[in-house]
Symmetry: C2
Subunit: 125 residues, 2 copies
Amino acid sequence: MKPLPLIEVYNCLCDETRLRIVHLLERSPLCVCHLQDILGLSQVAVSKHLAYLRQRDLVQVERQGQWMVYSLPASRPRELDWQLRCLQDCLSTHPIFRTDLRKLKARLAGCCPPASPQKFSAKGK
Amino acid sequence: MKPLPLIEVYNCLCDETRLRIVHLLERSPLCVCHLQDILGLSQVAVSKHLAYLRQRDLVQVERQGQWMVYSLPASRPRELDWQLRCLQDCLSTHPIFRTDLRKLKARLAGCCPPASPQKFSAKGK
DNA sequence: AGGGAATATACCTCAATGGGTATATAATGC
DNA sequence: GCATTATATACCCATTGAGGTATATTCCCT
């Protein structure tokens, strides 16, 4: 039997890597390789955490060319919404998460590869 | 190395039993046997979940005679506070948690054993 | 002191999970 | 079609956690 939605959310966020991923995706959709780069983790590790989040509907994916662009779902269930606010409040000063955001900004600035646009408007194809 | 406080909180709440315990303790301090009764779980199971919560400072204990009375800490870290609000919002309509509260009320009403007073004022000793 | 109630802990087992390596799959560019 | 890039998945291994049984501990009462 499927556990409570809130428990699913907690299970997703109780791992540091997944917490960092969600924290990043709240700012911008990102492809796997950008996440990999920002987080400094192996491709497999990132991919598996994304699968975990995906299976529990905490993130959604869209293929853009050869990139898989992950983002938070457009319509966010109440449980997730609470947590996003909580992250803002509790993590914004933490070194790890500050660094992540700094790297994110750098990534998005000099975004040479066509990947992970800030908006999905450009029907990349 | 100790994980982030927020992650500790998530780890505590990502289990249904512990979530129910915290949800109950938010209403009233409780001894182990009352929790055991309300949750309908074995003594060992309850005790171990309480140990888990205790080790991560999500609950505190006070001995009252032969009962160990558990409660949420007086001063609640910000991370926990967010979650308590979230529980209120997301769980209050869920059958399991409604039933728990109903049983809690019953327990506290006909509280024959001297255990788990609503207030700690009565310095039982 | 001795018995009983309440609670914690030591093991044991099983399932889930996180990380890694190797490999499969899918899209791109030539 | 083929090599390359991006991503996912299949295993393998080590750790953790949840539940159970048996037992230790602590306190109360007589």
